[in-house]
Amino acid sequence: MHDPTARELFEVLVREHADGLMASIRAGAGRAHADDVFQETVLVAWRRLADYDRTRPFGPWLRGIARLVALDLAGRHRRMQIADPATFDCIERNIAQFERARGDGPEPAMSFRERLVALDDCLSKLPAMYAEVVQATYRETKQLAEVAHAIGGNEELVKKRLQRARAMLAECLRGKAAFADENDGGTEVCA
C-alpha cells in the first residue's frame, strides 16, 4: 500500500481549495494576473507548509498567502489593480461563509462546485433584461461593445445592468446564507 507523501497530501488539499482560492484571487486581484498569483501561492504555500497550523482550516490560510502574493506582485506590476484591505476582508468573510453554506441540494454540499449550484437558482430569478447581459458576458464571454450592440444600448448601460445583476445575485446568495449577512458579526472595516 502506497503511503501518501506530504507532497501528495498537499496537492490534494490545494485541489480541494482551488476553486475558493481562485475566486478570492479574481475578486481581490482581478483576472489579468489571477493565474500568476495562483501559481505563486501554491509554491509559497508549499515552502511555508511548516508554518501552517493544522488545527485551523487550510482554505483561509491559503487565501491569506494569496493576498500577500498579490500585494507583492502588484508592487512589480504598476498597472495591476488590487483590492484595498477593507474590501479584501469583506471578500474573505463572504468566501468563508460560502464555504460553510449547506447548498441547495437535498444533501449538504461537499465542495465549492456543489455550492455554486445555488447560483443557478439565483440566476433563474433574475429579470430577463439582467439575465440577458449576464449570459452574454459570462457564458458567452462577449466583449462589452458586443453585448451593448446585441441589446441595442451603449456600454454604460451594459455596465449598469451587470452591476445591478451582481447586486441582485449577492442579495439572493445572502438570502440563502451563502454570503455573510451585513449585520452578522462583520468586521468593522467590512461593515
Binding site: 482551488a18 483576472r31 508592487g75 488590487i82 469583506c90 463572504n94 458567452e140 449577492a170 462583520g186
Partner: protein, 425 residues
C-alpha cells in the same frame, strides 16, 4: 475596489482602462466592476463576478490545466531546491556559458510543460472536447441573441423499409422538407415526393397544422408530435426533443456518450473542417440509437445532424407488440410500468395523459373543430405498436420512428413576420 496601488489620486477609470489595454481580450465583466461605494458592496460585486466566472465561463479542463501548471511549477521548483549539494551544477565560468545554460534550462522547462499538457490531453481526450462543443452549441442555441435569429434546416426523413413495418403499399419511403426555428417558435414543412406536403408549427399563439389537402386547424395540447425522440428530463417543450435544437443537444449531453474529432473524409465535403460529434445512446431515453452532429466551432452552431434508428430492433419491437396485442385480445394499450425495453423505449415519464383523459385514437381533431372527414395522410400508416406507447400523433407524420433523419442548416434565411403564425382562413 481595484484602487490603483501607487496613487489614490490617480484617475481610477483611467487606471482600469490602461490595465485593460494590457489584455486585449477583456470581457464586459471585468470592465463593469464596481469601483465606488462601501467596501461591502465592492466586495460583493467582485466576488459575485468571480463566482459567475468560475461557474459560467470556466470549463473543467481549464481548471485542470491551471492545477497542472501550478503543480508542474512546484515540481520544477522543489526538484531544484532538493538537489543535493554534491550534484548541484558547477557554476558557469563565462557569461556565454551562463547564457547557454539558461537557454538549456528554458528549453527543458518548455519541454516539461509541453509534456505535461500532452499527458493531460491524453488523459482527457475527445470526451472533454465533445462535452465542451455541446456546451458551447447549447449556449449559442439558447442565447437570447441567437434565438432571436431565424434558422432553417433542410430535413430528410428516411422511413423504415416496408418489409420492417406494416405500412400499406402507398406509404412513402422518404419525406423531405424544411424545419424552421425562430425563438421558441418552430415550423416543419414536409412532403413526400415533392407533391403532397404538410405543415406543422408551434407559434407563440399555439400549435397548428396544415394537412396535405390544405385544411388548416389549430392543435390542442394533447396533439403531440410523434414521439420519435423524447427528452427524458422533460425540460424541452412538451418533452419532445425534435421540436427544438437545444432540446436535442441536451438529450445528447444527458443520455449519450459522445466523442468528437475534426470532420474529415468520412463527412460530406461541405462539412469537412467542422467538428464532428458521434454520440451513442446509453440511457433509457426515447431517441435514435446514434446521433451525429457537425458543429461550426466559430459560431457554435449545428451545421448538420444525422439521427439513426436501428430498423431491426424496431421490427422486433413490432413483433413483440403484435404478440402482446394478441395476448390482450387485440386491444391496444400502454405497456405496464417496468415492462419497457431497457434501451430507448421507456414510456414517457409521468406526462402521458391519464387513460380516461386520453384523446381518441385516429385523426380526430379537438372539440369544436371536428372536420367532416378524416384528413388524408401521407400513406396508410398503421397505428403505432403499443410497446412504444407513442401518444396519439394525429398529424400526417408516421407515429413510429424513421430509419434516419438528416438535418442540414441552410443560411442565410429570414422569415416573414407571420411565418409561424396560423394562416387565417
Amino acid at each position: 475596489m481595484n484602487q490603483p496601488r501607487d496613487s489614490k489620486n490617480e484617475d481610477v477609470n483611467e487606471g482600469i482602462r490602461s490595465h485593460m489595454n494590457e489584455h486585449t481580450s477583456e470581457s464586459a465583466a471585468e470592465s463593469s466592476r464596481l469601483i465606488d461605494g462601501p467596501a461591502e458592496s465592492r466586495a460583493n460585486d467582485a466576488l459575485v463576478d468571480a463566482l459567475l466566472t468560475a461557474h459560467l465561463s470556466e470549463t473543467s479542463s481549464m481548471r485542470e490545466a491551471r492545477l497542472a501548471r501550478a503543480f508542474l511549477t512546484l515540481e520544477l521548483a522543489t526538484s531544484r531546491d532538493e538537489t543535493p549539494a554534491e550534484l548541484a551544477p558547477i557554476p558557469m565560468r563565462s557569461p556565454r556559458e551562463r547564457t547557454r545554460r539558461a537557454f538549456v534550462v528554458r528549453l527543458a522547462r518548455a519541454a516539461l510543460i509541453a509534456l505535461a499538457f500532452g499527458a493531460m490531453f491524453l488523459l482527457f481526450p475527445y470526451e472533454t472536447n465533445a462535452s465542451t462543443l455541446l456546451d458551447r452549441a447549447l449556449t449559442a442555441e439558447t442565447s437570447p441573441f441567437s434565438i432571436k435569429g431565424s434558422r432553417r434546416y433542410e430535413v430528410r426523413v428516411a422511413l423504415p423499409p416496408r418489409e420492417a413495418s406494416d405500412r400499406g403499399p402507398n406509404a412513402p419511403t422518404e419525406l423531405s422538407g424544411t424545419w424552421d426555428l425562430r425563438g421558441d417558435e418552430a415550423r416543419l414543412d414536409l412532403s413526400a415526393g415533392g407533391t403532397r406536403s404538410t405543415t406543422r408549427a408551434s407559434s407563440i399563439d399555439g400549435a397548428w397544422e396544415r394537412s396535405i389537402d390544405g385544411t388548416v386547424r389549430a392543435l390542442d395540447s394533447r396533439e403531440l408530435w410523434p414521439r420519435w425522440i423524447e427528452d427524458p428530463s422533460g425540460n424541452s417543450s412538451g418533452g419532445v426533443a425534435i421540436e427544438r435544437m437545444d432540446a436535442l443537444l441536451r438529450l445528447v449531453q444527458r443520455s449519450y456518450v459522445a466523442v468528437a474529432a475534426r470532420a474529415g473524409d468520412e463527412s460530406p465535403a461541405e462539412l469537412r473542417g467542422s467538428m464532428h460529434i458521434v454520440a451513442t445512446r446509453v440511457e433509457a431515453a426515447r431517441g435514435p440509437d446514434d446521433i451525429e452532429l457537425w458543429i461550426d466551432t466559430k459560431r457554435n452552431v449545428v451545421l448538420a445532424a444525422k439521427l439513426a434508428w436501428q430498423t431491426a430492433p424496431n421490427a422486433e419491437r413490432g413483433e413483440r407488440a403484435r404478440e402482446r396485442m394478441s395476448e390482450r385480445g387485440g386491444m391496444r394499450d400502454a405497456p405496464p410500468r417496468g415492462d419497457a425495453p431497457p434501451r430507448g423505449d421507456a414510456p414517457p415519464r409521468g406526462d402521458a395523459p391519464p387513460r380516461g383523459d386520453a384523446p381518441p385514437r385516429g385523426d380526430a381533431p379537438p372539440r369544436g373543430e371536428r372536420p367532416s372527414a378524416r384528413p388524408p395522410s401521407m400513406g396508410d400508416f398503421p397505428p403505432p405498436p403499443p410497446m412504444d406507447d407513442y401518444r396519439p400523433a394525429r398529424g400526417m407524420l408516421p407515429p413510429f420512428p424513421p430509419r434516419e433523419l438528416v438535418l442540414r442548416r441552410i443560411e442565410p434565411i429570414e422569415f416573414p413576420a407571420d411565418h409561424f403564425a396560423m394562416p387565417r382562413l
